[in-house]
Symmetry: C2
Subunit: 76 residues, 2 copies
């Protein structure tokens, strides 16, 4: 089974990567871009039958800094 963990900075946390992308897009003439946030997606290939609670545990222990980041888990 495969799951995708999407990790984004929480609202209000400064996102310099996203700002850099926004600035670059404006420089290329894409004036419709009002804001950009950049996060990461981690695709996990897990043994069949793995409990999704285990994925939550991975997020808490390693994948996510819960002070500044939020995450979602979905099966793919």
């Amino acid at each position: 089974m495969k799951v995708a963990v999407t990790v984004m900075l929480k609202n209000g946390v400064l996102d310099p990567q996203g700002e850099a992308v926004r600035s670059a897009l404006l420089g290329l003439g894409f004036f419709d871009v009002k804001g950009v946030r950049q996060g990461k997606v981690i695709e996990l290939d897990l043994a069949d039958g793995t409990d999704l609670n285990e994925v939550d545990e991975m997020c808490k222990q390693l994948l996510v800094n819960s002070v500044i980041e939020s995450y979602t888990v979905e099966s793919i």
Copy 2:
């Protein structure tokens, strides 16, 4: 309107970040993890009515290295 662009390394392209995460998860005792791929997600806040073709153009010009990366676009 908001769209999310998910950028992943193509299959077969070495993913050292993903390998590092896999190794760290194994070190923490998560033995159900068979593989990890890490990519990025870029959330774009666009003016209403922006054509999705414009997002494709952004990907081609800046967001995606099409030699080694593939991407998907979805409205959120």
